[in-house]
């Protein structure tokens, strides 16, 4: 085996079966190593595939619906109407000078992005198992393409938000320019959680149910319908680290609706937390993806 290539004219070799040991010698044990940078590069090289996957899903899910892509507008509007009808009367949720629907929508948008990424991305590896077990490609393409798809829907639901602003004659404050920071933190957190779940679900199917529970309870545990300030001040840093969505939603409300600067301390904590989620989630994904094809 020293020479890399055997001459094609080589003669027939019949294996001496008794020469094969029962177990491989320990020094031959294969240890799968993944390196962060090459993996990310490989993912980046396959970005076109993620676009196509997201496009395929959007197309195929609305192809047979009369409203078509319009359905992407219905869900956030319905949520908005319901939240407004129910919580408009809860005075303690109100913030001075800001119409409650606007206040509520600023929470619904980031939350919906997270929850729809998690619920579709979390199941994406499982539902594409036949393909995963036959073809090689960077596995993370599937959950990430679901995030892309959720991003498209979230962008579409900016339309009703704009309409709301016009209807209330409310002009967003200049501090809205902070938005990219919130978006990055939200994306990092969402990617981390989605990647982790999409890989774990393959190994432990019970987690499908846990994911459903998480998205339902998470809506209540995150300041979507109530203000972030309801959390005791002492607990806010801890909360910000473990649920970066809290400071993100709070930040959007402060900047866009109230014209204040975001609470930088909490935002830093949220960013650190989101980074931990992202790195941890991706590492877990890479660790678990090795055995995807061996699972029946």
């Amino acid at each position: 085996m020293e020479n890399a290539f055997v001459d094609d004219s080589a003669e027939l070799v019949v294996t001496d079966l008794s020469s094969i040991p029962d177990e491989p010698p320990p020094e031959l044990r294969y240890r799968h190593r993944t390196y962060l940078l090459p993996s990310v590069k490989e993912l980046w090289a396959r970005r076109e595939m993620m676009y196509t996957l997201a496009e395929r899903d959007i197309r195929s899910s609305y192809k047979q619906a009369t409203l078509g892509i319009g359905w992407a507008l219905v869900t956030p509007i319905a949520q908005l109407v319901i939240f407004t009808l129910i919580f408009n009367h809860v005075k303690s949720f109100h913030v001075a000078n800001v119409p409650y629907p606007l206040y509520s929508f600023a929470g619904i948008l980031p939350w919906n992005y997270f929850s729809s990424s998690l619920s579709s991305g979390g199941n994406s590896m499982l539902s594409n198992m036949p393909l995963v077990q036959k073809t090689y490609f960077p596995r993370a393409c599937f959950p990430l393409s679901q995030m892309l798809e959720a991003g498209v829907y979230t962008t579409i639901s900016l339309v009703p938000l704009t309409i709301l602003f016009v209807a209330y004659g409310f002009i967003p404050h200049i501090q809205t320019l902070w938005a990219p920071l919130f978006i990055v933190v939200e994306l990092a957190f969402t990617a981390g959680v989605t990647l982790a779940f999409s890989a774990m679900v393959v190994h432990v199917r019970d987690l499908v149910q846990v994911m459903g529970l998480l998205t339902q309870l998470g809506l209540l545990a995150t300041p979507v319908i109530w203000p972030f300030s309801k959390i005791p001040a002492a607990w806010q840093p801890v909360y910000a680290f473990f649920n970066p969505l809290g400071p993100v939603i709070d930040g959007i409300r402060r900047t866009m609706l109230l014209g204040q600067a975001p609470e930088l301390g909490l935002m830093v904590l949220a960013a650190v937390g989101a980074t931990c989620y992202l790195v941890g989630g991706y590492a877990l994904f890479k660790r678990l993806e090795v055995s995807f094809a061996d699972i029946t």
Partner: protein, 396 residues
């Protein structure tokens, strides 16, 4: 290891284990697995690949043969990095394209056109490359009229053709082919083989898995024979195939049931005059049988290469006595080229509603035909079964 040109495959001492006890992807299974690991118990592993080692040079053609469950597909998965080996090294240079059962990548809600782009992307082609090859792909799949229709309206044959065609135009450095010939109609199978040899002619390395030994022989210079996860033999295709066929038929002969109504005592295939059986020569088959009672039956003989379908069969109605008797059958101008063949036999009562044979169809003995080597078909052309024809060529 020296830097190899792209298209090489080097597999060294590769081992792969699967769990023998099925760990289902459920919480308590995973927890008990964790518990066992913590307690230091390791159990329930089964080696599906043991100490596999072979190399394919760039542009080389290698076949993997073996019975079902011998580990061929697992080995392909290891090479294509869909799964990973448990021990050993498996190195490939260059882009790998796998031609597998490809319908899993096709989305029925999308049109054929959208699917070509999507599946091409999954296989690693860029949008631009797909656009360049789009017409070739559609033409190859014979779907020119249907390409803008949703795939759910395609017949299953059309879906398979679509999936295969996308993969066929990948133009990778290494092409892995797993049992694709089991799909599609005969014309499309032939087209696929032609396409594969076209790709190989352009310098792509081929690793070909098939039960179709004729296709293996037509496509590959070298072969690896896998049995129960180990390489039994490797070398030039023809020699490996001969060993393989021999081993398969040995197992088959043992499997003749002895509880049949008529028992086969002895079978002999004898050349009529010469000491050897030659292509185009005559043979006499002598079969000694024992019947518990007299009767009438239709006896059959057939000849096959390996365990495959017989090349020909011959049958004869006759009455037979109780006790021992011998049945003789002279076959003239035997249309068999050089090789090892198996004689198959069975007997049925001459009654219409008979469901159980007097003795069942099975290989009873084997014999060798000696003579000139059979003509190797041109690349990509499969010979259905080897037949000897006494041909004369004239150029005028």
């Amino acid at each position: 290891m020296p830097t190899s040109p792209s298209g090489s495959i080097a597999v060294e001492h590769v081992w792969k284990q699967f769990r023998a006890d099925r760990v289902r992807p459920r919480l308590h299974d995973q927890l008990s697995k964790l518990g066992r690991t913590v307690r230091g118990q390791r159990r329930g592993w089964r080696w599906v690949l043991k100490d596999i080692g072979f190399e394919v040079a760039p542009g080389g053609t290698m076949a993997l043969i073996g019975l079902n469950g011998s580990g061929k597909s697992t080995l392909l998965k290891v090479i294509s990095k869909v799964t990973y080996q448990s021990a050993g090294r498996c190195e490939t240079q260059g882009r790998i394209g796998a031609l597998l059962e490809v319908r899993s990548g096709i989305n029925p809600m999308l049109t054929g056109r959208e699917n070509i782009y999507l599946y091409g992307n999954i296989l690693g082609l860029s949008k631009r490359t797909i656009t360049e090859r789009f017409d070739d792909i559609v033409e190859f799949a014979e779907l020119t009229d249907a390409i803008d229709r949703q795939v759910k309206f395609f017949s299953s044959g059309m879906q398979v053709r679509l999936g295969f065609s996308i993969a066929a135009y990948l133009e990778p450095d290494i092409l892995l082919v797993d049992e694709v010939l089991a799909v599609g109609d005969a014309t499309f199978q032939r087209k696929c083989l032609e396409r594969i040899s076209e790709v190989v002619a352009n310098g792509t390395t081929l690793l070909f898995v098939s039960h179709d030994l004729a296709a293996v022989e037509a496509m590959c210079e070298r072969a690896v024979w896998l049995a129960d996860g180990v390489i039994r033999a490797q070398g030039p295709t023809r020699e490996v195939l001969n060993l393989y066929r021999g081993a398969v038929s040995e197992e088959a002969v043992v499997s003749i049931p002895t509880d049949a109504d008529i028992r086969v005592l002895k079978v002999e295939v004898a050349p009529s005059d010469d000491a050897l059986i030659r292509p185009g020569g005559d043979v006499e088959v002598r079969m000694a049988l024992r019947a518990p009672e007299a009767g009438a039956a239709r006896f059959f003989f057939g000849v096959s290469e390996g365990t495959a379908m017989p090349i020909f069969v011959t049958g004869h109605n006759t009455t037979f006595p109780a006790g021992d008797f011998e049945l003789r059958c002279s076959m003239r101008n035997l249309p068999l080229p050089r090789g090892r063949y198996h004689l198959w036999a069975c007997a049925w009562r001459n009654r219409v509603a008979e469901t159980k044979p007097l003795f069942p169809w099975g290989p009873v003995t084997s014999f060798d035909v000696v003579g000139a080597r059979p003509v190797r078909p041109p690349g990509g052309v499969m010979v259905l079964s080897p037949v000897y024809v006494d041909a004369t060529w004239v150029l005028s």
